[in-house]
């Protein structure tokens, strides 16, 4: 096992990512918790035919969703990879805003048959990812019973109630964000910026964490660590305070 690598360049931290990979993008869907610099680097890397996994995927660039006023005009979301024709498939819970026009890049790609959009209930998506990072291959849930989510899936009656069998979802790469880390890759999150980051970190072969700063393990608060460094292969930041 290699120790956690530290990078100061976002594009360099993506080394080894190639065409056809499944890539999870953390956060919830707004600005907070989203690995925005890693996303911009992935666009620049220009790998193709990727399968993306995210939550709220393409709303911010249409509506400004989840971005503070002063940053709204520079809002970034999963749409940048659709604009750039990099995506074969996206698995997410919230791909399109309720308003129909203007079309988002995801809806355009879907309409043009360029991309498959798989819509998964948010809690089921989270649990599929959590399961993958916990060594659990599948689980039963009542979410989606009686809806199109149930179609073509195994079901089982347990204690008189119907449940759907859902499978774990893992990936080649996870791009995640945390507020800060230490040199072991231990991550500290703030507020609602946890969201999908900790579970994606555990569900991927290669986890790359963007952090605002890297501090010494002597200074990090071990009681506040949200993701243990065991899950984190690379950390990347413009601010490294380890001397």
């Amino acid at each position: 096992m290699k120790k956690t690598e530290i990078f100061d360049s976002f594009i360099s931290s993506l080394e080894g990512i190639s065409d056809g990979m499944t890539i999870m993008v953390g956060g919830f869907g707004g600005q907070g918790g989203q690995p925005t610099n890693l996303m911009l680097a992935l666009k620049e890397l220009n790998v193709n035919n990727i399968t993306l996994v995210g939550n709220v995927a393409g709303i911010s660039m249409i509506t400004g969703y989840g971005w503070i006023d002063q940053d709204k005009k520079n809002a970034i979301d999963h749409s940048i990879f659709f604009e750039n024709k990099q995506v074969k498939k996206i698995i997410c819970s919230f791909p399109v805003p309720s308003q129909r026009k203007p079309y988002s890049e995801i809806e355009k790609s879907w309409k043009n048959n360029e991309t498959i959009v798989e819509i998964v209930p948010q809690g089921t998506l989270a649990e599929k990812i959590r399961a993958a990072g916990s060594g659990i291959p599948a689980f039963y849930t009542k979410t989606g019973v009686g809806t199109i989510v149930e179609e073509n899936k195994e079901t089982k009656i347990i204690n008189g109630e119907k449940f759907i069998l859902e499978y774990a979802l893992s990936s080649d790469v996870a791009l995640i964000y945390a507020n800060h880390s230490d040199e072991f890759g231990n991550l500290v999150y703030l507020g609602t910026s946890r969201a999908f980051n900790p579970i994606m970190a555990a569900a991927s072969k290669l986890t790359i964490a963007e952090v605002d700063k890297i501090i010494s393990s002597k200074l990090i608060d071990s009681e506040r660590i949200g993701t243990s460094g065991i899950y984190v292969n690379r950390i990347v930041s413009k601010k490294n305070e380890i001397s």
């Binding site: 209930p121 990812i129 959590r130 609602t192 999908f196």
Partner: protein
């Protein structure tokens, strides 16, 4: 039939807020439901949960306090306050799925006589966003739908059967619209309250299934 003026969104939000009992854990959907937070009686100690991983917020932040690390699921920024707690998405939906949320208030496109809800995709669009709605309607102890009673084109939204893709089956407990408050029961839709200046026949005219009168409907509580 000529109809009186309908109530506005704030009235619907206020009426929904009245439903929330003291000390309950509540998840509010995006849009109209999130307006309810404005009308909650602070003495009730309502604890809001948002599926992006926060419990215990009430006020939405002032514009000058915008911080991307403190947001609700609708993308509004939160003021930090004592007693808040944060968690990741898996835990957020564990508490939803396991029934810890007392009430969820959601928007609706269609509700059926049996309490089926459709609120995630307009049929002819072919693509929509499920978000956390399916988990919430199957996990929360009580599901309240707030919506306009009919579409802008005066088509039924309260139907015998939903024809849009479902969010959940037999999941709605109460419907609060701009003209009425209706309980979904095993016998059918029971009318509880009617908006000022409206009467039963007018509400029935805009509702596809037959409404049931148990007790004499009260006047819709407005603020």
């Amino acid at each position: 039939m000529k109809f009186p003026e309908k109530l506005n969104k704030d009235n619907i939000a206020f009426r929904a807020s009245v439903e929330l009992e003291e000390n309950s854990y509540v998840n509010l959907g995006i849009g109209l439901p999130s307006l309810c937070a404005k009308y909650i009686d602070k003495k009730k100690n309502i604890r809001f949960q948002a599926e992006n991983g926060v419990l215990g917020f009430d006020d939405l932040s002032q514009n000058n306090l915008q911080n991307p690390d403190y947001m609700d699921a609708g993308g509004q920024f939160l003021a930090q306050k004592p007693g808040m707690s944060f968690f990741d998405s898996a835990e957020s939906f564990s508490m939803i799925r396991a029934g810890y949320i007392d009430v969820t208030i959601l928007g609706g496109m269609q509700v059926s006589e049996d309490g089926d809800l459709a609120n995630w995709m307009i049929k002819d669009r072919g693509i929509g966003s499920i978000g956390g709605a399916m988990d919430l309607v199957s996990g929360a102890k009580k599901v309240i739908v707030t919506m306009e009673h009919v579409t802008k084109e005066n088509q039924y939204k309260i139907l015998k059967y939903c024809n849009f893709p479902l969010t959940g089956k037999n999941c709605v407990n109460k419907i609060i619209t701009d003209i009425a408050v209706i309980d979904v029961t095993f016998e059918g839709l029971v009318i509880k309250e009617i908006a000022p200046k409206w009467d039963f026949d007018m509400v029935q005219e805009l509702t596809e299934p037959e409404l049931i009168i148990k007790d004499i409907p009260k006047e819709y509580q407005v603020y």
